[in-house]
Every structure is written in C-alpha cells, then in structure tokens.
C-alpha cells in the first residue's frame, strides 16, 4: 500500500487512517503556511486538488472548522471535511442541533453560537454571572455574560469575545 495520491511513493505519515508520502507531507505543510493566523487548527485545513495543483488551503474563514474540532463534528465526510475529518461548512455543523430557547439564561458552555445571517460561528467557552450593576427582575433576571471563542479573521487570531459587546447580542445558539 503506497501513498493515497502517489501509490508508488513510500509512506512517511498516516493521517486519519490515510497514508501519505514525503511529497504530500511537504505539500500539506506548505499549504498550511498560506493560512491566516486565525485558522485553528491550521495543519489540517488543507485539501488535495490534483497532481498539477497539489495541496491547497481550504476556502473560507475556517470558523466552522474550529467549532467542529472542539465538538468533534465530522458531518458531511470528504470533501466537506478537513484533512482530519472535521466539517468546515457552517450549515453542516448545525446538522442535528436544536435551537436553544429560553433566553440567554438557558445558554450553556459548548453551545454553538451562529451569527443571524449564518456567515460566522463560534463556541460558548465561558459564562459569567450577570454584572453586579445589572438590574433584573423576578420575571426577567439580568442576563449572564456569555463569552464566545471563535476563529476571528477580523482579529487575525483565535479570539474570545463577549457576546453582548463584540457581537452586539446578535445571533442564535444551538446545542
């Protein structure tokens, strides 16, 4: 058994059960270096196009790819998944998930946050109690402080931002 793309070449690496030669490993690394620093993890956000073009970065921002890795979402299968088998399309990471109802008080760590227009996504990474100055009522308690960790192309890094501030309290949560 040779490399999955170059059958006559010797194997130097096995990734997600598939065997790759030295040329492929070099191509994977070269493609990953083209990615913006926010793409997390970067090493697997690549795909093999063909013998002429070799390994290429996957298109898009990689926001869904980060969430998929954290929640072990492998919906879609190749070619809708990264080199390690994780989904990189926003609609696909919501497959089988349910919209969280009950207001922000019902949101939990590891819920998926998605922008209302479905063009960006992240993960609820922390929930703090309402700020002391926040006023609520018995029927409508003050909202907790929700932190979203996301592959942020705008900030060039994996960032953790407040839902009510950075995202202006917009978007939906899925579990």
């Amino acid at each position: 058994m040779g490399c999955v793309h170059h059958p006559s070449a010797p194997i130097v690496a096995v990734i997600s059960g598939l065997r790759y030669c030295a040329n492929c490993v070099a191509g994977i690394r070269a493609a990953a270096t083209q990615l913006d620093p926010h793409v997390t993890p970067p090493a697997c956000f690549v795909w093999y196009k063909n013998s002429a073009e070799g390994w290429q970065p996957i298109a898009g921002t990689g926001c869904a790819h980060y969430v998929a890795h954290q929640l072990n979402i492998m919906v879609g299968g190749p070619p809708n998944t990264c080199l390690n088998g994780f989904t990189y399309r926003v609609p696909l990471i919501l497959t089988g998930k349910t919209l969280v109802t009950g207001g922000l008080g019902a949101v939990q760590v590891n819920d998926i946050w998605v922008q209302a227009d479905r063009h960006h996504t992240g993960l609820v990474s922390k929930i703090d109690p309402p700020a002391p100055a926040a006023t609520g009522s018995a029927s409508q308690p003050a909202n907790p402080i929700i932190w979203i960790t996301h592959a942020s192309s705008g900030q060039h890094k994996l960032a953790t931002n407040r839902f009510d501030q950075y995202f202006h309290g917009h978007g939906d949560f899925f579990r």
């Binding site: 298109a59 921002t61 990189y88 942020s152 192309s153």
Partner: protein, 135 residues
C-alpha cells in the same frame, strides 16, 4: 460549376472556428463556466459587516466589469487594509465552493465572468446574501 463548388468548399474551410460558448447550449456553457462552478451553491463566510461589504463590492464587480478591469481590481483583506487581495484571493477567503475547488487561472476566471451564465449565477449569489441578511 467547378468554380462554384470550389468557392463553397473554401468558404466552409476558411470560416473561423466558433468560440466554445457560441456553440454550447446555455446549459453546457453554465456547466463549464469557471465562475458558475465556483459560485453556484457556494457558502459565504465572513465575520464582520465590513468584510461582508467588501465581498459584496467584489461580487458586484464580478457581475458587471469587463475581464481586464476585473482582474486588475484589488480589495481589502481580512483586516480591511485596502488593495491587498485580487478578486480570486478575496473569493478564496470568503466563499466556500461546493464542491471544493480552486481558481488556478485568474485570467480565464475573469474572462468567464463576462458570460451571461456567470453573471446570472453571481446575481443569484448576491440575492442569497440579501436573503440571509433579512433573518
């Protein structure tokens, strides 16, 4: 009579070979058009409204500009620094095609963009962005 046959044969032989799209049906033209293949059924991914505006600017150019002008355009990058990305670079950063593909020949891509099938596909993609913003 012999001259007439010769003239007719010459006429047939010397006619310019029609361009691919001139002979292709609209369906065939759409199936081979690089822009249609990249845009149709694709997913837009962007984080900020400003990034979305830059994508829209590029899509509007894609559906209106002639090939040379289109390929010469430059767009802001993720951090909104102006004039950093070509059209192809911008699309690869914000638009996830289905199935996944690359744009290895930017000039051919810009040429295909001027075809009616491409412009229709880009306009449909813009309409899908409009619809997503109504949510």
């Amino acid at each position: 009579m012999r001259w007439a046959v010769l003239a007719a044969a010459l006429l047939v032989c010397c006619q310019e070979t029609p361009a691919r799209d001139a002979t292709a049906t609209p369906h065939e033209a759409a199936e081979t058009n690089r822009v249609v293949l990249y845009i149709k059924g694709a997913e837009a991914q962007f984080e900020t409204p400003e990034q979305g505006s830059e994508l829209r600017r590029a899509l509007n150019d894609l559906s209106t500009l002639p090939p040379l002008a289109l390929c010469a355009r430059r767009y802001a990058d993720y951090g909104l620094t102006a004039n950093q990305w070509t059209l192809v670079e911008l699309l690869q950063h914000y638009v996830v095609p289905d199935p996944l593909q690359t744009i290895p020949d930017a000039a051919a891509f810009c040429t295909d963009a001027a075809k009616p099938a491409a412009r229709a596909a880009v306009r449909a993609f813009i309409r899908s962005l409009d619809a997503s913003e109504q949510r």
